[in-house]
Subunit: 159 residues, 2 copies
């Protein structure tokens, strides 16, 4: 009765990328969940782990999310003890966000998890194919002016 014939758009590059991408994001979030980490929180902490001084505002700019939302995000991370707010000495309006040792450990754990996830997702591909795929994706990302490490989902309309 219901026609199982796939619709026309199903083979388009845009749809395939979107479909596989959404699945990857889902897997990513699911694998992180047992650690109590959301993808967004990981994105934040990973940037902190890279060094440099970050205020809430600079993090919001970096990740492309609104500062109002950053409040709750940092609140949650501070509550579980992965991050600390410290008054900036140069600008006493601002908080400097610092990773705690516990937060640093989580970042390391998730980084290892990412390797597992890649292995899981690309299980059907040879090493050469994986490299080719990554290369093609990077080309597309650059062409679309996507910032490395910044997920578009986080990017609201930040004027």
């Amino acid at each position: 009765m219901t026609a199982p014939e796939p619709t026309r758009y199903a083979g388009s590059l845009a749809f395939l990328l979107s479909q596989v991408g959404a699945h990857c994001a889902h897997v990513f979030a699911e694998r992180l969940r047992p650690l109590g980490v959301t993808p967004r929180a990981f994105g934040l902490m990973s940037n902190l782990a890279n060094g440099g001084n970050h205020t809430q505002q600079s993090l919001a700019d970096l990740l492309g999310i609104h500062r109002n939302i950053m409040v709750g995000l940092v609140d949650a991370l501070e509550r579980v003890g992965w991050v600390r707010r410290e008054r900036s000495q140069r600008d006493r309006r601002a908080f400097e966000i610092r990773l705690t040792p516990a937060g640093s450990k989580i970042v390391t754990q998730v980084n290892e998890l990412v390797d597992d996830i890649d292995e899981e997702i690309a299980a059907g591909l040879s090493g050469a194919e994986r490299q080719a795929l990554a290369s093609l994706l990077v080309t597309l990302a650059q062409r679309a002016s996507l910032v490395p490490g910044v997920h578009p989902h986080l990017r609201g309309l930040t004027p």
Copy 2:
């Protein structure tokens, strides 16, 4: 001051796929917006255009969304005249959803638009590269048991 060095996960396949995929979904939605069509509505109408008899329930199963949500979706599509509800003769509880001529025209328009979007997204790739990318993505999709034409975002938890 903020370190522009990309974080480690930025080069992982899972992240790249998710990142590029989210961007494609965004472009897709944006290009459809002027027509007044949401991706979800297009998915529904495209399945109708493929023929066969569809009730709200069968469409909900097909797209992986909850039947309660299908109510509002069909309401909206009926309101703009792209779809019609007709009582099924075999099961008078159910509505058969039919594409109107206007709806059929929209599907044709969007299908052409999808070709444009592919062209836009894959602008930096040669024909051979596009084909290779599509092939790799299909492999991943099959390996992940993704149903052709069904976007995971629509799939809630439909037990």
